[in-house]
Symmetry: C2
Subunit: 219 residues, 2 copies
């Protein structure tokens, strides 16, 4: 059907443009020009610009979450219901990092679109994003299973830190390259994932010493 071709062309063009420039910098006319369709097509097929963004976000959100949960399930089953904390964190940050920094262009567009969505918080997305909380809770639970002795509050901080490292690395990769004069290799995806996972795990497992140091610092 010609209908689906137009829809798909719009979705592709919109996702790519949004991923590249951000939501506020892309107009409907940019999208339809890139997609090679008529201006009215967006409203005809999606109702409005916001609904287009929402559909894009929901689709990608589901895909990312499934990818993460599959990886989590795999490592937990391999460990008899309890995976090493490094594996849990890798399941959390791996898909996004691989997506954004890896060689697969289509995957990169999708992943970068999600990064934009988490940054710009445009109205149509803000309403839906609460769903992600419950998704993250499943990872918090898995992390707690990995580290039964770590207090719950530290689990949340660890989860937050892991996402922070992954996220910001994608967003600021350009600055890191400049700052380090190219010393930090942003193409070594596995190396980056390893760095993020290690740093986040360390913050969690060295927590007792860390908490003590924290108290000392406060004094």
């Amino acid at each position: 059907m010609a209908t689906d071709r137009t829809r798909a062309a719009i979705l592709n063009a919109a996702e790519q443009l949004y991923a590249e420039r951000g939501f506020s910098e892309v107009t409907l006319r940019d999208i339809v020009a890139a997609a090679g369709v008529n201006l009215a097509a967006v409203n005809y097929h999606f109702g409005s610009k916001d609904e287009l963004i929402a559909e894009l976000f929901v689709t990608r959100s589901i895909a990312t979450n499934r990818e993460r949960l599959n990886e989590l399930k795999a490592v937990e089953e391999a460990g008899g219901g309890r995976a090493p904390i490094e594996a849990v964190i890798r399941a959390l940050v791996g898909p996004t990092l691989r997506g954004c920094l890896g060689p697969d262009r289509q995957r990169a567009t999708a992943a970068r679109f999600m990064i934009r969505a988490s940054i710009e918080a445009v109205p149509p997305i803000r309403k839906i994003r609460n769903r992600e909380i419950s998704h993250l809770r499943r990872f918090a639970a898995a992390m707690q299973r990995s580290l039964p002795d770590v207090p719950e509050v530290d689990i949340y901080w660890g989860l937050h830190f892991a996402l922070a490292l992954a996220h910001q690395t994608i967003r600021d990769s350009e600055r890191l390259t400049k700052l380090s004069n190219g010393l930090c290799d942003l193409d070594d995806v596995d190396g980056i994932i390893a760095r993020v996972v290690t740093a986040a795990s360390l913050a969690l497992t060295t927590k007792r010493a860390g908490a003590a140091a924290a108290k000392a610092q406060r004094a």
Copy 2:
């Protein structure tokens, strides 16, 4: 002079609105309404909307950098030219974290404006932001002095991670609160700084073990 009062009112209103809603969501009419001045005042006093943003950014950028460097200088002098890595990192992330999460409302506005600026990368700011690279290099150098045995590339990653943790904690504080059901106390600024500093320092000082683990993970 009445002139300066109008200028100041515009700057205040603009900074606050930008900090709250982001650049793309605030119009000149919003700003002049909040400032209680005429629409044409912005163009009269600043030339254009972009120049207003640029002036705001430059002013705040200078203030933040000075605050950081003062703290760095203090701890390095106290240690005879070489400060503990925790102190260096605290000088880097402390001012912004204290500014954004602390009780001082005016400071919070300023700090949050800078966060927005680092996120949205609107054209007038993008041109100026390169200056920050050289500022960060001074911290990289200080960190290298603190940890002479750590390879340069790891220093950059550590610096990047420290900023990532601080930054994202400010940006995503709402989600962290929701996710943890309020367990993570975002009002405990010193505690948060301690967590960020500890996590970033750990990633740097445990690097040799970390690098080994990273290689193992890749296999």
